[in-house]
Symmetry: C2
Subunit: 370 residues, 2 copies
């Protein structure tokens, strides 16, 4: 009943597996479709391992888009109850999606769900993010960016390499930021935010959490609303953004917010590039050389996350940028797939799945990322 699904080698493979161009497997036994009492689950990614597929098969008839030709897919779509996607597959065009009259559930393997075409979904479809699945790995990565910026590791390494720094050169005190006893602001206190905080306590930092719901946790001061955000930004020595990208958080850090931050603060973006206004940030970095921005996530160009920026950030010494490797480093552990599969099983068993998102909060754009 299931298709053999190989391990993906790279994101391009994963992407190909999201299309129908490469049908490599035999078609499913569609004849059984009508007689089975089990719901139908369509998996649109090769990232799901065989053990997981076996586990899912106890509760559903499992189909892989990689095993279906166009005609089989057309027959299957109206009977699909659930979708397990890595990111939104291109073959699920608005037209194909409109045929999925039975669709009730979508599970994303990506942590964020802003790749899902919410505007085209009916109200009965529950969409679940994979929040929490990457938390520890992404939190570690956030700390690598924060410490690289705080200790100027990239700068110093490149300076020694190019013989532009000498031993015994006295530090002015601005080059290296000491984190102990300083304040760490965490924007968004979900799985990543709370893992970031746990590590921050090891560094003896005071933790300020900005979140929708109050945080009741020892050693964490909780802030809500616009005023709370301004307080966290103004009082923090380092800020880590781990917010989902929604219509409320889009460009939430603009020129006005940057202006409230300490002149020598460090801002780390581990969530989504678009949380920060690109031009405002560039101007801020240029006019505040002690301020530092370190990011693993990038702005959109033509609806897609892109390493090509409007401004030459790499010419600014107080900028550190890495090519969105925090999530993929978590994916390599296998945990995010297991996490997503467990949630699909929850849905299939008639239980309430975790991480149901509110569609009203998500932008109906074609922004793509992972």
């Amino acid at each position: 009943m299931t298709q053999t699904i190989g391990s993906p080698r790279n994101y391009e493979d994963l992407k190909r597996s999201n299309t129908l161009n490469k049908v490599r497997k035999k078609p499913p036994q569609l004849s059984k479709l009508k007689t089975s009492p089990k719901p139908n689950l369509l998996i649109t990614t090769e990232a799901v391992d065989q053990d997981s597929i076996q586990a899912l098969s106890k509760y559903a008839r499992v189909f892989s888009s990689a095993g279906l030709d166009e005609a089989s897919l057309a027959r299957l779509l109206p009977s699909v109850d659930g979708l397990l996607v890595f990111f939104w597959p291109s073959f699920l065009s608005p037209e194909n999606l409109s045929r999925m009259s039975h669709l009730r559930f979508i599970q994303s393997i990506l942590a964020g769900v802003n790749h899902i075409p919410f505007a085209q979904l009916t109200k009965k479809v529950r969409v679940c993010s994979n929040a929490g699945a990457y938390s520890d790995e992404v939190a570690e990565y956030a700390w690598s960016l924060l410490l690289s910026a705080a200790k100027r590791v990239v700068d110093f390494h490149n300076a020694v390499k190019s013989e532009q720094w000498t031993l015994r050169r006295m530090l002015g005190g601005k080059e290296v930021t000491i984190l102990g006893d300083k304040t760490l602001g965490i924007l968004g206190y979900g799985g990543i935010g709370s893992a970031v905080a746990r590590i921050g306590k090891g560094f003896s930092m005071k933790i300020y959490a900005f979140s929708r719901k109050p945080v009741r946790e020892k050693g964490v001061r909780s802030f809500q609303g616009d005023k709370g955000l301004l307080t966290v930004l103004a009082e923090s020595d380092a800020v880590i953004a781990s917010l989902p990208l929604t219509k409320f958080t889009d460009k939430i850090i603009g020129a006005d917010k940057l202006a409230t931050m300490k002149k020598d603060a460090i801002l780390v973006n581990i969530a989504r590039g678009e949380l920060v206004d690109e031009t405002a940030l560039y101007e801020h970095l240029k006019s505040n050389p002690d301020f530092r921005y370190a990011t693993d996530v990038w702005w959109y160009r033509e609806g897609k996350e892109s390493l090509k920026t409007t401004h030459p950030f790499f010419e600014v010494p107080n900028f550190i940028g890495t090519p969105h490797v925090s999530g993929p480093s978590g994916l390599a552990t296998g945990k995010p797939v297991k996490f997503a599969v467990e949630n699909v099983i929850r849905f299939l068993r008639g239980l309430k799945p975790r991480n149901i998102v509110n569609p009203a909060e998500y932008l109906a754009t074609d922004r793509q990322e992972y």
Copy 2:
């Protein structure tokens, strides 16, 4: 009785204040020398602030070498009981040192004491390191190196900058090391080592401590002796070296030890370059591309720590090097001076000072560093 001592601007200033070339202040009232019941303390660095000098003056007659000409110094030396040095001053040549018949105590503001000429000291001289004074700051720096190496931040930043990496490129799993639930080996469990461990617990790492004395601490496995060192090296995913450089630890990590480590382990050196055999390390990095070495400390050339290496480490992608800024970043907090001064006061009050080192463990070389 005290000299006005300005704040140092850079290490070169500190170094000049260690010589007699620049005597800028009036000579001390040497006539009072014989009548005072207080011991005489000579400070050979301008790093000590006025408040500290005031505090010391309650218990000693305080002299600054920056305020003494050659003749005054010659008269003072035989009556000096204690020395507070940043690093060993060049004016205290073997000849001048031999005149210091009253010398009983030397306090270093540097954490390590391998700059002290132990071979030329009589047995009655107690030498105190400043271990612990920089612990939190150096531990933070060690973590910045470990995370930069684990997450390949320098590599990734430079790759995006030079357009050599693309988004959605799948990670092989070797590029980024996940630290959670992995084993962190800490070589030397003094102030720095235990601060490194505290942070490591926040990362949910298992802590293996290699130290002279057994460590009894929750969440820490303690190892001693040669066999213990081999176990720590063999079983750790990341190792942070925070050992003092003594005749026992000189090149303690050679080819044999490197060979016992995991092929994809990370070795961080936050202590002294000479703990690691330079050529053996270079060969190891070349033949084990997944192994990573990140250091803030460098090997000696002609007795002095130098950024010039015998091998071209910066051409090896699995090497990260910063120009010995971890200690100076701690110095910028003012804490190390306060720490050293408190210990001098302990000595002056007739109490047992902390951090008395065993001269037999130290090499009688002219190696200089900070």
